[in-house]
Symmetry: C2
């Protein structure tokens, strides 16, 4: 059994130091194990324009990764987050080659999920399916979910809207994931009273259909609600077992540190009842792929 924690934090757009200190507090309060932090932990989400998003991004060897590495060393945990990252070849703001202020910066950021242990990054993945206005800021990834051999088991790494594509969660299971880890920012939409958010049931269904555990970390802290780019968030962080049932209570719309003991090895057994197997029972020759 491994202690898995999702840290639903009230991030603030543009406040990197604040966001990193929230992360530090959460990681040090969580039991040693796997700790998943929200999407775009360093920058927040609701950028006014490309100039702003560019100003909030940093290189992959920048201060956020350094801070998370120190935190992984201090806690002994394996940390997961996504960050607004400047590609290595892109000029940092203010350095030579930066676009003149009058020309809009090209979209050139990456939404990169990282897995970090005491010695630094052990795996990374760039978000493939972009949501909403993200294409104004981010280049999309071109690789399937990263498989990362962590100290606690094999993690498949994806980000937010990626989860909505059953092709993607299936790829993670076929690649042998013990746990799918996903930082998310789920925008709040109205839903019938008493219903779980649909983003959550998509994750629960994927866990059942693939017999793989999930740890999904959402955020709270409405951003710029009085502006067109603004959003509030579901606050739907959850950890789900291989049977598709959540192992954590809901904490809609508030900060929360949700932990569960997860039997990661159970993700290697794909049996569904005494006669069936959710992977072997697939019929690729009928699907045509």
């Amino acid at each position: 059994m491994v202690a898995v924690t999702v840290a639903q934090l009230p991030l603030v757009v543009g406040q990197r130091e604040h966001n990193l200190s929230l992360a530090a507090e959460a990681v040090l309060a969580a039991p040693r194990g796997i700790v998943v932090l929200p999407e775009l932990l360093n920058s927040g989400y609701c950028f006014r324009d490309r100039e702003e998003s560019l100003s909030l991004a940093e290189p992959l060897d920048g201060p956020s990764v350094r801070a998370l590495t120190e935190l992984a060393a201090r806690s002994g945990s394996t940390l997961v987050a996504s960050l607004a990252i400047l590609p290595a070849e892109a000029p940092a703001r203010g350095e030579g080659g930066v676009p003149a202020p009058t020309s809009a910066p090209r979209r050139q950021l990456l939404n990169v999920a990282v897995v970090i242990e005491a010695d630094g990054i052990i795996g990374s993945y760039t978000k493939v399916h972009l949501w909403g206005r993200e294409p104004e800021h981010f280049l999309e990834g071109t690789e399937p979910p990263a498989m990362v051999a962590s100290q606690f088991g094999r993690l498949a790494l994806m980000v937010c809207y990626d989860l909505e594509f059953p092709e993607f969660t299936r790829l993670a299971a076929l690649a042998g994931a013990d746990l799918v880890v996903a930082p998310v920012n789920w925008p709040l939409e109205p839903r019938p009273e008493g219903s779980r958010a649909r983003e959550q049931i998509v994750v629960e269904a994927a866990a059942r259909q693939n017999r793989v555990a999930f740890a999904v970390c959402d955020r709270t802290g409405a951003e710029r609600l009085d502006e067109e780019v603004g959003s509030d968030w579901v606050g739907g962080s959850l950890i789900v077992g291989q049977d598709g049932f959540a192992l954590t209570p809901t904490a809609y719309g508030r900060p929360a540190l949700l932990s569960a003991e997860v039997e990661l090895e159970a993700s290697r057994d794909k049996a569904l009842g005494p006669f069936n197997d959710v992977i072997k029972d697939r019929r690729p020759e009928v699907y045509g792929f």
Copy 2:
């Protein structure tokens, strides 16, 4: 808007006349529209052996299809059910060529879902993913979900365990389904108190991920619980809109006629919010298929 009904009936194994009369009562009580009936409507489910299942099957032009055709004519509705069917080339029981009583009959039945209107069968589909002991009785289908042009819209036809494969529900959406119709027999398993059955949330997730409506008809009436082959049932029939929210209340473990007005045309709009499209946002070049 089309009236869609799922008729959760207390079928009895081996009692075809009884089962067909339950179906008749339900279809005539339902509003005119699309009426989905449970899986293996004619035979029931928990067969003791292959001899019994063979004895309960019938040709595709047999009494059950004739009865359902008369019922479609009388009601004006489009009917959906699955039936235990003898393939055309297989000898009917008692006719020439039937295996000698001492040799076990070959598995040779088909679990065929049919769509029936006033003039008879307008589409059929043989279950592809077999559950539990079904391979002892049934040959598996080799074709993807049938697409059937009914009087009310384009129906994609699948059966029970087929729903657990996201590849299959995706194929139905890509083929342009307005409504996925699925007769099922969901075996009852323990679940945490207050939780929806996982079979239901798999359907809700597929509806959201594909922006397509679903009508899934389960059954009630525990069969042979004192025998190894016996089972009770979830009674989880539901109709789900394109947003992944159920349009019908739950009726676990009891007979029920559940109807909802469904806007089938909305299944042709794959937009999710102002910027996204659940089909166009797929990245097949990343998936590798």
